[in-house]
């Protein structure tokens, strides 16, 4: 802008006075040669007392502002020395003793010959803006803390392409990924390859159409483990209300799934148990008559050896049926356990010698025991509890026909439950088989009846406990039995 006459100069001064910034023009020596009205207002001095004074006497002149003044001075000196602009932010106490946060631009002004003529100080009052920033920061901090505190939730936002643009801090607990590792990556990273291929785009389509989509799904953690969640996806709208992405909220339902599995197994087994009891009764009567009559026939002396042999075979086969029915009845047994206070570690120790009476693979199995003594006692039926662990130990043994390590660990969970873990280093159990493993007659063994684990399940349930399986194909299986304190 070129000023051609006095009126333009007046206009310029008017503009300077009315600008909503603090303006101060000082000589390279620091003497104020121009100040606008806003500056006079903030520092609370008339223009006459400002002009000709060193700027540092006018700004930051109180005791508490001393250090800031030093810094501000250093900035200004820096501008003079290195002939470049600089910025400074500091608090000034105005005439009414209110603290104002000012953000200064320090700009050197040069003559046509590139000599420094002076320095322009432009100050913005950023008090309110910073206060708002602080409030926002606090909200963000609060949100962060909320999500860190709620461990079973993950919250993240993607853009329309599905790339993650926001990842709440606490999400790392559930998903294993830290924010820095996952931000800007595609959300399909959190899904199984199959889901990522088809279900994900279907879900997002539904969100676009209906605004929300909720489903039970497996998410993939950083360590490739899958975790069951309820995933809720919402539209993410920008400030204009336009769809700009998706908000994902995932709730960990591992515990609920475990519980559901237990309930599902219990109900299934209860129904089968009823059927089994009824059937066993109906089978027992005719079977009893068959065996009894045959045994009586066998005592006839007139029989030739061939017939005796045949009858012997039939009796043996009938005996097989009888034993099976017996097991069935045991499985269907409804009588409540005879409860007494038990030390679980002692109960297990008592079972170990019995292992030798069972047909176990010949290969060498190393037994590692970590049975903690003096655990809180449980309330249990010793015979039944020992049957549980005998079954689990035999299974673990049989899972290692090539040999391996069998680990037995007992410990106090502290939540009024004790836990026993029985691990083998055998072949592992497939997902499909785990689903059926407690079903009566389900077996993968050549000569198994498939009743052992269903009986184990019932006993543990009747004791108010739970039984879980952790298994990895090729690595081994762990049965985890939790039983409540007495």
């Amino acid at each position: 802008m070129t000023l051609t006459d006095g009126s333009s100069e007046k206009l310029l001064l008017k503009l300077i006075d009315n600008a909503d910034v603090l303006l101060l023009y000082v000589t390279p020596q620091g003497e104020v040669s121009l100040a606008n009205k806003k500056l006079c207002d903030v520092v609370g001095l008339p223009l006459q007392q400002i002009l000709g004074n060193h700027w540092s006497k006018i700004l930051y002149h109180d005791a508490s502002g001393n250090i800031q003044m030093q810094m501000f001075k250093a900035m200004v000196d820096d501008v003079i020395t290195y002939r470049r602009s600089n910025n400074f932010e500091g608090v000034v106490v105005d005439k009414s003793q209110v603290q104002k946060l000012l953000s200064w631009g320090i700009i050197p002004i040069y003559s046509e010959t590139q000599d420094m003529e002076g320095i322009l100080l432009v100050g913005h009052d950023v008090t309110e803006i910073r206060q708002r920033d602080d409030a926002l920061k606090k909200i963000d901090e609060t949100l962060k803390n909320i999500f860190i505190s709620i461990k079973e939730y993950a919250l993240y936002v993607t853009n329309l392409d599905g790339n993650i643009t926001y990842y709440a801090m606490g999400s790392a607990t559930l998903l294993g990924w830290e924010k820095s590792e996952i931000i800007f990556k595609h959300v399909s990273l959190l899904h199984t390859p199959e889901d990522a291929k088809s279900d994900l785009s279907y879900m997002l389509e539904q969100v676009r159409l209906t605004g929300q989509f909720e489903t039970e799904i497996m998410l993939v953690r950083k360590n490739s483990e899958q975790v069951p969640v309820i995933l809720t996806i919402n539209r993410f709208l920008d400030s204009q209300g336009e769809l700009s992405g998706y908000v994902f909220m995932a709730k960990d339902i591992t515990e609920r799934k475990k519980l559901e599995y237990q309930i599902f197994q219990s109900e299934k087994l209860a129904a089968i148990g009823q059927l089994a009891a009824g059937m066993a009764h109906e089978i027992n009567n005719p079977l009893f008559v068959i065996s009894g009559r045959l045994e009586m026939v066998l005592e006839e002396e007139a029989l030739n050896d061939r017939v005796k042999q045949d009858i012997g075979i039939v009796i043996n086969q009938a005996e097989r049926i009888r034993k099976l029915v017996d097991r069935l009845l045991k499985f269907a047994r409804k009588s409540p356990p005879k409860l007494e206070a038990l030390d679980i570690s002692e109960a297990i120790e008592g079972v170990l010698p019995l292992l030798t009476y069972h047909r176990l693979p010949a290969a060498h199995v190393e037994i590692e025991k970590d049975l903690v003594r003096g655990l809180p006692v449980i309330k249990g039926d010793l015979n039944q509890i020992q049957e549980v662990f005998l079954n689990l130990l035999i299974n673990a043994h049989q899972a290692m026909p090539e040999g391996g390590t069998l680990k037995i660990i007992s410990r106090d969970l502290g939540n009024r439950f004790v836990e026993v873990r029985i691990s083998d280093t055998g072949c592992g159990i497939s997902e499909q088989n785990i689903r059926n493993i407690f079903m009566p007659f389900f077996t993968t063994k050549k000569d198994g009846t498939g009743l052992g684990l269903s009986i184990v399940f019932n006993i543990v349930k009747n004791h108010g406990g739970t039984i879980d399986i952790e298994s990895q194909i090729g690595k081994g299986t762990t049965f985890v039995v939790k039983l409540p304190y007495a």
Binding site: A277, P286, F288, V289
Partner: protein, 127 residues
Amino acid sequence: MGNRVLICDDETPVRELFSDLLKKQLCDVATCMSGEEALDIVTKETFDVVLLDIKLGGMSGLETLKKIKDTKPETIVIMITGFGYDEQLISKCKEYGCSGYIGKNMPISQIISNFKLFVKSAKEKTA
């Protein structure tokens, strides 16, 4: 052995099998098909032992047991059960005064030896 035994079971083949088995043990055997019948017979005649099915149509085995014990307390009653070892049921029977039980899921040899054992110990108790 020479005991007088009444066998009460509503299933004919079972009843006959028990009858034949006990006859071989030299018992004097009578049979009937219901609890009502058993009670009637026991009231009129004297038996050392009643072998009583726990699951009977009409009057239940448990009730029949109670009534036999009320009428002729000296009669030894042994229950027959198809349910294997059912603790609740057995303890109920014991409460009502039965001297033992025989499961139809037991091998024949065990049935006979249990029968003898129960009779012997019951007799020792009353003696």
